[in-house]
């Protein structure tokens, strides 16, 4: 099954390069996504398909990430077809191929139980997503792509050094150098502490860059602001989840090695610092796509905080990976529609979205309430669960700061979002001929439905999946 999920999208990417028709090429996206989603469901129902090799294993944590990425990609792929219809004059050859290759590489990252292979896959996702940011071929998008490539490559290079440090800590511990996740986990108590700590810091900085943890987040507003909305959704829910998985891996090894206090302190600090930075920059944001980037940064901070708190907050953290991914689908895709209707991202021009594009405007507003943790949406459950965990673990100061930051973000984001959806449509944009189409509206509705569902009720299989992941992360399975 691993080969289907990894190689099929890659093969489709190759096919996309060779199809001459600009109109039909994007159809490969939903095809690959459907096969991927079917394969994901199959492998979740039949765990015995989950281990192919020693270094390609789908563990419980990987399952949660795989589910998130697969669902997000599935609905986004239909949106992408609709989006590319509006851009028919531009060749989508590389856009389609890179988007398909991304799906294969992120699946490889999720399955790999060799941390070196995982690095190769995540670096691969960095490379194939760079041309996606550059799709609009403007000066601004070149600038965003350049910053993304440079900052991302350096960050991910540090993660490679961290990976090597980890192997070296095993060598120093007398086990022989290895990058196999199971070996490292088993030998964790004997790993050289100094090198393990150094490795953890490099993992945090390196993969943290990819997630967008402050202060390595600088590429993110630029990239999310200039990339098409659908790419933003894939980044905010897919690329970041893959990088977070790498942090989960090293955290689990540190936990098994008895280095939990060291790792936790750093993670809690990074999480709160990231949330603070996001809150500050969100407050005065006039560009609503950049605002969404800061929202993504904030939620990476929440995930990092939840991981740092450990056992009491892990359930909420794993659930938040899923709810954040789905809500980001709602926000970025509806923001893409609004952007197209107004041909602007600035709240000086974009006003009255509820009148101009009623469905996207309403979904954007609902997505805002969802992502800021209002009931009855999914992120409310996960954020509440993390908050509960923070207090249970006795981190009262962190919990209080978390609450204050949630409030700050709610207000900062609210000002921008309300300006976008309310008011009158400025006269000069009322004539723009964009109308919502089925393909660009239905996927957003689907994400919204999932977000509401997760807020009201967590299905039993998902509950089991999350419980297993928490047990696995706590080295209790």
């Amino acid at each position: 099954m691993a080969f289907v999920l990894i190689l099929f999208p890659l093969a489709m990417a190759g096919l996309a390069l060779s199809i001459p028709s600009n109109r039909w090429r994007p159809v490969l996206l939903p095809m690959a996504a459907a096969v991927h989603a079917a394969g994901t469901v199959a492998v979740l129902m039949r765990p015995e398909w989950g281990s192919t090799f020693a270094w390609l294993v789908l563990d419980p944590v990987g399952k949660v990430i795989l589910l998130t990425v697969s669902v997000l990609y599935f609905f986004s792929s239909f949106y992408a077809v609709g989006y590319l219809k509006y851009r028919e004059e531009r060749s989508n050859r590389f856009f389609t191929a890179c988007l398909l290759a991304f799906l294969g590489l992120i699946s490889l990252a999720i399955w790999s139980h060799d941390l070196g292979l995982m690095w190769v896959a995540i670096e691969g996702t960095t490379l194939v997503t760079a041309p996606l940011i550059y799709f609009n071929r403007s000066q601004r998008s070149i600038e965003a792509t350049w910053k993304y490539l440079l900052v991302g490559s350096v960050g991910i290079a540090l993660a490679l050094l961290g990976t090597f440090f980890l192997a070296y800590s095993s060598l120093q511990g007398g086990f022989g150098a290895t990058l196999g996740f199971e070996d490292l986990l088993r030998n964790a108590p004997g790993l050289s502490k100094t090198w393990l700590r150094a490795s953890f810091i490099l993992f945090l900085v390196g993969y943290g860059t990819k997630m967008g943890l402050a202060p390595m987040h600088t590429w993110k507003p630029d990239a999310y602001g200039e990339a098409p909305g659908v790419v933003g959704a894939i980044f905010a829910g897919g690329v970041t989840s893959g990088a977070f998985l790498a942090l989960l891996r090293i955290f689990q090894i540190c936990d098994a090695a008895g280095e939990n206090p060291f790792a936790s302190r750093l993670l809690v600090f990074m999480g709160l610092f990231t949330m603070t930075v996001a809150g500050v920059f969100m407050a005065s944001q006039r560009d609503f796509k950049r605002m969404l980037a800061y929202s993504s940064i904030e939620h990476m901070g929440i995930l990092t905080l939840g991981l740092g708190i450990g056992a009491p907050a892990l359930f909420g953290t794993m659930l938040h990976v899923l709810t954040n991914g789905m809500t980001k689908g709602v926000l970025f895709l509806s923001a893409g529609n609004i952007h197209r209707a107004y041909a602007s991202k600035s709240i000086d021009q974009v006003q009255g979205a509820l009148r101009r594009v009623p469905l996207s405007g309403a979904l954007f507003l609902a997505g805002f309430f969802a992502i800021t943790g209002s009931p009855p949406f999914g992120p409310f459950i996960s954020e509440f669960s993390i908050l509960n965990g923070v207090f249970t673990a006795g981190h009262f100061a962190a919990g209080a700061l978390f609450l204050v930051l949630l409030l700050v973000v709610f207000m900062g984001m609210g000002i921008t979002v309300l300006k976008v959806v309310q008011g009158r449509v400025p006269l000069d944009v009322e004539g723009s001929d964009y109308h919502e189409s089925f393909l660009t509206a239905a996927p957003v509705l689907a994400f919204m439905a999932i977000v509401v569902l997760l807020g009201l009720y967590i299905p039993a299989p998902l509950q089991t999946l999350l419980d297993d992941a928490v047990k696995f992360l706590g080295n209790r399975s």
Partner: protein, 213 residues
């Protein structure tokens, strides 16, 4: 054998300083290429019995780091029609001195860390860390896009040196994957620099400043 290895490490360290002190981008490309070739030779000297995968990965490293990637860079440079780095943030001489200080510091710190189980490894860790830091200095103090890419390549070389300690831990698939990623990234970057040059009529990254808060 150890003497030859040590001589190579010293050569690599010297090349770092040359890269830091040279203002002609083409010369820096050649320096980085020479460093790449040396890196590819290292694993051949470290093992008494060479196996096929080791020779293969060495050959791949030499051809990529020494020939293909510098070739791509040199072509990007020709397309951009420019020769010199503009006045860097930190001058050429000061950055060379900083590089030398960093080298001394790295050796001082890592001579205290307990040496590895292998005798030939004593120079690997400090050389690796120094090269990574030299790459960082290049990356952060130069303004031309291509110079920054060269800094990234030096940084990557430093990480590659560290991997020499871990030959048995890194499967051939992973090693090839790392090299492939490097090649693709340089390829994509050379395309992007070409577009930057066309859109901004310059490779000065200070012009990339329209996106900010």
């Amino acid at each position: 054998m150890n003497d030859v290895l040590n001589a190579l490490f010293v050569l690599i360290l010297t090349l770092n300083l040359f890269a830091l002190g040279n203002g002609r981008i083409l010369s820096v490309i050649r320096i980085v290429a020479a460093q790449g070739v040396l890196l590819g030779i290292l694993p051949l000297l470290m093992h008494e019995h060479l196996t096929f995968p080791e020779v293969l990965s060495s050959a791949a490293a030499i051809s990529l780091k020494g020939i293909v990637i510098p070739g791509i860079m040199a072509k990007a440079l020709r397309d951009a029609q420019m020769k010199r780095e503009v006045e860097p943030l930190v001058g050429l001489l000061p950055s060379t001195i900083i590089g030398a200080l960093v080298t001394a510091l790295a050796f001082l710190v890592f001579s205290r860390v307990d040496p590895a189980s292998r005798s030939d490894a004593s120079l690997i860790i400090p050389t690796s860390i120094t090269t990574v830091l030299a790459g960082f200095i290049l990356l952060t103090t130069r303004f031309k896009a291509l110079s920054q890419v060269l800094g990234y390549l030096v940084l990557e070389n430093g990480i590659y040196i560290f991997s020499l300690l871990l030959v048995e831990a890194i499967p051939l698939v992973v090693e090839m994957g790392i090299l492939l990623d490097l090649l693709v990234s340089v390829f994509i970057v050379s395309i992007i620099t070409n577009h930057i040059n066309r859109a901004f009529s310059s490779l000065d990254t200070r012009r990339l400043a329209s996106l900010k808060e």
